[in-house]
Symmetry: C2
Subunit: 383 residues, 2 copies
Amino acid sequence: MAFIQQSFSVAFEYKVFFTEHLFSTDNRVFAQFLETRAEKGFRKKLLFIVDDGVSSRHDYLQEQITAYCADIEGFELVEDVIVVPGGEASKNDLQLFHWLVNAVDQHAIDRHSYIVAIGGGSVLDLVGYVAGVSHRGVKIIRIPTTVLSQNDSGVGVKNGINYHGKKNFLGTFAPPAAVFNDAHFLTTLDERDWRSGMVEAVKVALIKDAAFFDWMEANAAQLTEAEPTALNYLIHRCAELHMQHIGGGGDPFESGSSRPLDFGHWSAHKLEQLTDFELRHGEAVSIGIALDSVYSWLTGLLDPESLERIIQLLKALRLPLYHPLLEIEDDEAPIVAGLQEFREHLGGRLTISLLEAIGKGKEVHSIDVNNLRKAVNMLRDKW
Amino acid sequence: MAFIQQSFSVAFEYKVFFTEHLFSTDNRVFAQFLETRAEKGFRKKLLFIVDDGVSSRHDYLQEQITAYCADIEGFELVEDVIVVPGGEASKNDLQLFHWLVNAVDQHAIDRHSYIVAIGGGSVLDLVGYVAGVSHRGVKIIRIPTTVLSQNDSGVGVKNGINYHGKKNFLGTFAPPAAVFNDAHFLTTLDERDWRSGMVEAVKVALIKDAAFFDWMEANAAQLTEAEPTALNYLIHRCAELHMQHIGGGGDPFESGSSRPLDFGHWSAHKLEQLTDFELRHGEAVSIGIALDSVYSWLTGLLDPESLERIIQLLKALRLPLYHPLLEIEDDEAPIVAGLQEFREHLGGRLTISLLEAIGKGKEVHSIDVNNLRKAVNMLRDKW
């Protein structure tokens, strides 16, 4: 049989920087990064796209960016800083996607230019998708401004928008050129946002790192007050574990059957949708973690002491354990449909992450609805 | 400065198979490929999307596909074979893109499923883009049906659609799972299509492989009659050189300043647009090759004997050398604007491939409009 074999590897590399007051003139981290990317003979463009929630709380930001970028060697700032609505709604708005693609076109942003996205996870996902498909990939620098995006989504390799109500139906795998986590942005977040953002750290500790879980237990009092040193360590370690999972798993773009870090997420995705995104992603994941931990115990995987520790940590962090829409009256319950939707999104066999110990996940390929109902009822009644 | 370093490589591998009558029951190439991709425990879906030009000339195809796919282990065929309009117009039609994304959703095609695209380069580009962004990348099998797509675009790593008149403005780099070049599809092409498709072979020979150019000269009589043995060798060798360039260049997704195989293409892109795609891509590239070869000679890069051989080969293949829209009256001539647009699409400095010998390209970073006008006038008057 006649054939030509093609094989090649594409190397991806980026740094996640931890800093504060990124665009104050005495902070050279951002400028130094760019200057390593300058090339003789032409100036590369920088197009900033900023979450409106960030720009309204940091009204000096646009001016600061303009001043900061004025003398970065080899780069020129596109004068208009684009402001876009933040939150999940921005990922549902196809017009917004087209508006940003048009901006890329009108400002003649090419494959050597950089789009700089500043905002929460939704804005980073949306702008990342715009960059990922314009000219088959314009470079993107991410500046995540929430706990959740700094420790999880913003440091990874995915982007995407929702389509006809399906979360992240359209998107690409596209590693950023760099990520800058600026701790100052965290100080102006709503409590619900910084609090719920911590749950991805609980999740990754539970399936990967028992010592990190111990640390969170020991520091729960500081964390629940968003004490900066504790919060920053949590973000750093969570980001690190997340990045190790992507880089070390051998299949960062999930082309085979590698699993994302999705413990507690199957029911969380469904709860977000069922509450029309009234629940924050992190709140939904907290409930999802509680549910799958109880289920792990009910099916004999997890010991009762570990379960109690997990529940008590979530409570200490004042994260929710239950929502009425979890309720399972029969096999047609909405939350049960979430299992099938979760399977479809990832494809292949149903695969659900459970726990066999704190720090150790385990995959199973079926879920017993009877035990699931028992778990829901316990979450409603027991804690 | 605190940072976390991420680095990983993603390996890509695919085969381009050469065969005939791919879906006749005694041809097992396609089935055998899929069977290596089967997994225990679930059946993967196959969604076929076919160019209407192909389905109308091969009216048995749908039935043949249904019969052929009925018993491929581990796979199930989505019953509806989707037929889409072919040609460049399909890449301008955003509604068509959305219609196909909806089909992916409605048929629950997941990341383990395969979309099989059958058609010319435009349909492969469009369907490739749909697959590239749905669920962040559904696997795609390409079955190119034209000379151009079998020897060039269909065997590479790009997809894309046009946006607001800009060619390939939206797209991704997404290597296929496999490519099947079926020689039988070539037998029903219009003469303009098979003839113009040969020009990419002339191009790649000129910049990479003098021996291949010699072979084309020696076989020009057979090629210009589309004699199957000669045509198939031309496609095979052109595909091979194209794939070597992508796989061997160290930057297959063009993230740095690596160049695609774009000799003769800067003016070709502009001519296609100026003629509202009345010129076939290959015809425009033939004119572009002629133009840049004459320019190479005028600026002292290329010797006159080589120039004459190039022109005579294009003429022997009955490919065009000139179009009235090339005409340069002043610096504002439309074709001159094509230089800037070409620079913008690739980004960075203007970089144009010229020739210093048959088989040897050379990059330059400026074009002298006066010499360009002389070259156009020679093409108009001399041959």
